[in-house]
Amino acid sequence: MSVIYILLSISIIVAVIFFIAFIYAVKNGQYDDSYTPSVRMLFDDELVKEQPKKTIIKPKKTN
């Protein structure tokens, strides 16, 4: 069998894998909110900085 069949099937398989990844991402709602994640990723540093300071989380009963 010619090598072109192998190459063709590999290229199509790779393309289809990416296509499935795209469908999967849409299905999981990745494209529903395109703004909040961009803000959220900037927060992580602040949280890491704070964590060592406090050991007990006070469950505060408000109201």
């Binding site: 199509i12 393309a15 296509f19 795209f22 299905k27 909040t36 803000v39 959220r40 989380i57 408000t62």
Partner: protein
């Protein structure tokens, strides 16, 4: 008084000032929120944004209904075992601090396991342990930190929201197939006749065929459906030639590869569908935090307190029956028509009538649904159920179930009719010519004409022009529902305005004083007396008057529905209605507040509406092109003022009930008027729905506006004319791009008619025309946008 601002909410600290941790707060509420945050190490909240907070409101008893099982069931999207998940709409979400604090709710209460914000939709999805924490606790926690969720009857009905993602799928499939087919068809463009190409081209063609199948039968199915619907109702819409083009492309290409006549046009086919869907996607600009479909349900509460046998139980609004005793708390909305039984009612009917002054009612008076109680607790007896109430019946009018887009011929569809006929004519002419000259080429020419004339560029002109303009308008705080609204806006010839809340500002009003001038000490006393009162008129007057020193009053008494009396040292003051103060009652349409000091009548403050900035200018600009009408639910008190302010040919009509407004518009539409209605309250809802274009003016777009076609931020009201002008320019742009695409079509038709349309020409011409249309419309609309700013 200097303008020190609150560390938490950023408001100017007026009378009350609290210093805590070296920080200034405007009230106890703000301080408490700060305390909660600092105790839990969450002061980062204040790092992202200056003064991001909101003052927590009094909510005692307001959310008692959330402890009911069936209501919890409706509001939560997941409820099993120990875990509940609820999505709450929080209007206050506005900055990164909000996202941060709401996603760290677990630090405030360990029973909340996760919380996720959707900023565009302004909601937060909270996951919590329902054994240790109820939904009510979550809502109370959010309220206590200034993020009070908004729960209305709307949440109750819709249940689980279904997101339609099919367009993204279709776009993905078309794009995927387009890219792959392009690669596969590339070798044959050069027709080198090489050995290996000859050997494998059949394989390549069949793979292309396989890729095009989902494009035609899934991604492109909307065009076939729409074309079929159009033909059935005898309408040659733009989708007819598109569907014809897709079908001919697919059939001819398939025939070509079966009989080994050529490589087919799969590249053009997939590209065509991909570009068309891209246009559709671009046009679909949605403002997820706005809703254009609101009716009374968004305003109404989910539950109300019912009194039976001395016990207070929360019941669902839909369960209210005739004869039920209901308890309405301060700031709560009256959900049904009824009779006041107990308590002093001071009802704000601004939702219903647009009239901003509150109305006092006493026991035995009739209350209408939609009013908001503004002073204390009242008891009432329901006379009707929710659906039968006066206000809610407005929604049973036909206009609310009608789709405005039907019966409106868009520019694209108007042109596609002639276009389709012309293309079919050319195809038949060319075919008959070739039948005579060289019949072997006839079929080839016929299909080639249909393929090349497929109006891809025409179909893209409107979506890209309107889509881009929607975005530009959105940036300028004019939120338009969809593209067809812009097109309708360019056709209007009559503009009707509501008065209260639309051309007048809700926030500010002006008052003039008539009578003996007040001495300095009297002024101080007046201002300080007003300070103690919560009556809306007192608040208004307090804001209007210059600030004075703060003195403590010896005596202060408020008489509900009448006025206030107060004394300081020897001075004694009475503020209120004419009869209360001892003035002679005069029949006046405007609201007045009378004042007497030491039992001597001094004078009165008369309130006037304060009109929005630039209103005269706007009307003078508009009067040259449009018929202008003001339809007001108010009395004629402002007639003289309006006459002075507005151009003389403006029609002024007062005392209009919601149905009257609707009928007025309907009548003028039958006479050929294309009406733009500009309104604000629920009372305009019918008129907004009936009009060709209904624009709701909103002081705060996050709060509620009635169902409409567009929402305009109140601060941009004076730009209304520019927006209309821009939509007219958009139509011009579309016409120009039609001309541009005709030129491409003529070039293409030359190849097609002469029988020399090679796949490579189609593959170049089609994307080229589409892309140049996209570039042209984008640049042109951006130029309009620049003029708007």
């Amino acid at each position: 008084m200097d303008k020190a601002t609150c560390f938490h909410c950023g408001d100017i600290c007026n009378s009350e000032r609290i210093t805590y941790n070296d920080k200034l707060f405007c009230c106890n509420g703000c301080k408490t929120v700060y305390e909660i945050f600092s105790e839990n190490d969450l002061t980062c909240y204040y790092d992202f944004q200056n003064a991001p907070g909101a003052v927590p409101k009094e909510i005692e008893g307001k959310y008692d209904f959330l402890s009911q099982e069936n209501i919890i069931e409706k509001l939560t999207e997941f409820n099993e075992g120990k875990i509940q998940v609820a999505t709450l709409y929080i209007p206050h979400i506005h900055c990164s601090s909000c996202i941060w604090i709401l996603e760290n709710l677990s630090k405030l209460n360990a029973n909340i396991t996760a919380s996720q914000v959707n900023f565009d939709k302004k909601n937060v999805r909270v996951t919590y342990n329902s054994e240790a924490l109820t939904l009510k606790d979550v809502v109370l926690l959010l309220s206590s930190i200034g993020y009070e969720p908004y729960i209305s009857l709307d949440d109750f009905k819709t249940g689980k929201e279904h997101i339609n993602r099919s367009l993204i799928y279709k776009l993905g499939i078309a794009g995927f197939a387009f890219g792959n087919v392009m690669f596969l068809s590339f070798p044959e463009y050069f027709e080198v006749g090489e050995f290996w190409l000859e050997k494998y081209k059949h394989l390549f063609r069949w793979i292309m065929f396989a890729f095009s199948l989902p494009v035609v039968f899934y991604a492109g199915q909307d065009y076939f459906i729409s074309a079929y619907k159009g033909l059935r109702s005898k309408l040659l819409n733009i989708d007819v030639p598109i569907a014809l083009g897709i079908a001919v492309l697919f059939i001819r290409s398939t025939v070509e590869i079966i009989f080994d006549l050529g490589s087919g046009f799969f590249d053009s086919l997939t590209g065509l569908v991909f570009f068309l869907l891209l246009g559709k996607f671009f046009q679909q600009k949605t403002y997820s935090f706005l809703s254009f479909e609101r009716d009374y349900k968004s305003y109404f509460p989910i539950a109300i307190t019912k009194i039976s046998e001395g016990k207070e139980t929360p019941i669902q609004v839909y369960d209210i029956e005739k004869g039920d005793r209901l308890l309405i708390r301060n700031e709560e909305l009256i959900p049904v028509d009824g009779i006041l039984i107990n308590g002093k009612a001071r009802i704000d009917y601004s939702f219903v009538t647009g009239e901003s002054e509150t109305i006092s009612k006493t026991s035995g008076d009739k209350l209408f649904a939609g009013g908001k109680q503004t002073s204390g607790v009242i008891e009432m007896e329901a006379l009707k159920s929710v659906e039968q109430s006066y206000l809610t019946q407005l929604w049973s009018n036909d206009v609310f179930s009608k789709n405005k887009e039907e019966g409106f011929t868009t520019l694209t569809n108007a042109i596609s009719k002639r276009f389709t006929i012309a293309v079919l004519g050319i195809a038949i002419l060319a075919t008959s010519y070739w039948l005579v000259v060289d019949s072997s080429k006839a079929m080839n020419v016929f299909t080639a004409v249909l393929i090349i004339a497929c109006p891809c560029a025409i179909a893209l002109s409107a979506p890209f022009t309107f889509g881009n303009l929607l975005r530009i308008f959105g940036k300028l705080k004019f939120y338009v529902k969809n593209a067809s609204v812009i097109e309708q806006l360019s056709h209007i010839n009559t503009i009707i305005f509501d008065k209260t809340g639309t051309i007048t500002s809700n926030r500010k009003s002006t008052a003039t004083y008539e009578g003996d001038s007040l001495s300095n000490s009297e002024e101080i006393l007046l201002k300080n007396t007003l300070r103690g009162s919560n009556h809306p008129l007192s608040r208004k007057l307090y804001d209007i008057l210059d600030s004075n020193n703060i003195i403590s009053l010896n005596h202060f008494e408020e008489h509900l529905g009448q006025g206030i009396e107060a004394s300081h040292e020897q001075d004694y003051i009475k503020i209120g209605s004419a009869s209360f103060v001892g003035a002679t009652e005069t029949q006046l349409l405007n609201t007045t507040v009378h004042i007497s000091t030491n039992n001597k009548y001094k004078g009165k403050f008369t309130f006037y509406n304060s009109y929005r900035k630039g209103i005269s200018k706007l009307f003078n600009k508009l009067k040259k092109h449009y018929d202008l009408v003001i339809l007001s639910g108010d009395n004629e008190g402002e007639l003289e003022n309006l006459k002075k302010l507005l151009p003389s040919k403006t029609k002024l009509i007062f005392n209009q009930k919601p149905e009257d407004k609707l009928e007025y518009i309907k009548y003028h539409q039958t006479e050929g008027a294309k009406v733009l209605m500009v309104g604000d309250g629920l009372n305009d809802a019918g008129a907004l729905a009936q009009s060709n274009v209904g624009i709701a003016i909103s002081e705060n777009v996050n709060v509620f506006s009635p169902a409409c076609d567009a929402i305009l931020d109140a601060t941009k009201f004076n730009k209304l004319y520019q927006f209309i002008k821009a939509s007219k320019s958009a139509i011009k742009i579309i016409k120009w791009s039609f001309i541009l695409s005709f030129i491409y079509n003529i070039i293409g038709l030359y190849f097609a008619v002469t029988g020399q349309l090679a796949p490579v020409i189609a593959a170049i011409l089609m994307p080229l025309s589409s892309i140049s249309i996209v570039v042209f419309t984008t640049i042109a609309t951006n130029l309009i946008g620049r003029k708007l700013e």
